[in-house]
Symmetry: D2
Subunit: 138 residues, 4 copies
């Protein structure tokens, strides 16, 4: 699978900082998720689509390594890659740097599984979802 | 209605602070809500009760005045009073001080309406809820 | 003072929602603040400027009225107006609607005071800040 | 090092949930941190001590695996263990379950380094801190 990269920008808000003046470590996972949401919009998902609304995409595993602090007002660039696409799950990789800089601030990954909303049980990723992810990879 | 007071303690977490080293102003509303949740537990609500689960209790109005900053590790005491009880709404008043201190950190109010979850339309507060609120007031 | 309006867009993130599927009421205050931050950038503030860094701009009062729920993925437009500009404080008004819609989702205000960061005491707003706010109003 | 366990309880607040009705995945890291803060209080740290205030304890790595969803009003128990204590860092392990249940909801780890607040550079953990951590382990 080609390491095709999706990029989106996030501005650090005041509320994201903590008493040492840096972005709280939990917020990087929220930045990862915001990038994922932008990625789905980029792929053309509406989120209102009935076929999608039957599903729920819980996270089963995350990791994050923190390299440098980010601060209020920083303009960050989040890079998303599809690290692994399986029948019932997708694993995203994320890298965060200040926009225009190569210096890594944080990197991590998030594994998302596909589940039926009613039962909560794992189920194959919806085909139209897989098609769009595949199209992005190729 | 007697100004009977319900009190609960909240410890300021690191994540609640911002880059100036004080609790972010939005978090006081979350402290208000946590006190409200403790109050409902104190009244004996289970939240799992079917009769309650048909309802939704959106907030229609909030206000908050900030007097003094709170900081990481402060042990706060939140005071909740029922300021007004109407057929379809209840207005809570809140005061926050450091535990054991009279110096006000913040005070405000929150107006909660009763709505049916399915329609989203305002509906009389559930009778068992009103009974418990009344009992608290008397 | 003319009711000149500054507008910015905010996309509702998944993390902003609660178990009823709507944006948590505390997050509207965070949207207000994000609009304020965008407004300062629009006015040309760098936030790194030493003259500004001596200051701290705590909120002394907020209010919010909730009209309609916002949901995940909604694209909101936040309108900011300067409602009152005093020697040591500025009062902003905010209105939030879905972009392209006139239906109000929430509206409120936030009063910000100017204080010296070292002493925490109220102080006149920095002149360069007042100049820029005035320029926006005229 | 003995796997001595520190336990603390956390009640799931409404604001911690998302539109599927479960605790947002980023909040488990905040629960980990709250347990860590309670642990420091348990060890007798005041946080106001000058020797400690020279330091900053940024996180350099976190991971979390999500097993079962937690929901509003759940009373969770967080278990903290010291997995590794090094000269300049400490690695905590965390397990979260509903209080009184053995079924794991989430587990993870957080690696905290010791740094001087002024320089931001890594430095040996303060001796009084190490002493207390050691005492807990023995």
């Amino acid at each position: 699978m080609s390491p095709k990269v999706f990029r989106t920008s996030i501005r650090v808000a005041w509320v994201d900082t903590d008493a040492v003046g840096v972005v709280h470590f939990s917020n990087y996972l929220r930045y990862f998720e915001r990038a994922e949401e932008e990625f789905y919009r980029h792929l053309g998902f509406t989120f209102d689509d009935a076929a999608i609304q039957d599903y729920w995409f819980p996270r089963v595993e995350v990791s994050c390594q923190y390299k440098k602090p980010a601060r209020f007002n920083d303009l960050l660039e989040v890079e998303l890659t599809i690290d692994e696409l399986k029948e019932k799950s997708v694993r995203y990789g994320f890298k965060i740097a200040r926009k225009g800089s190569q210096t890594l601030i944080a990197e991590g990954h998030v594994t998302v599984v596909s589940a039926k909303r009613q039962t909560g049980k794992a189920a194959p990723l919806p085909p139209e979802f897989v098609d769009k992810l595949r199209l992005h990879c190729s």
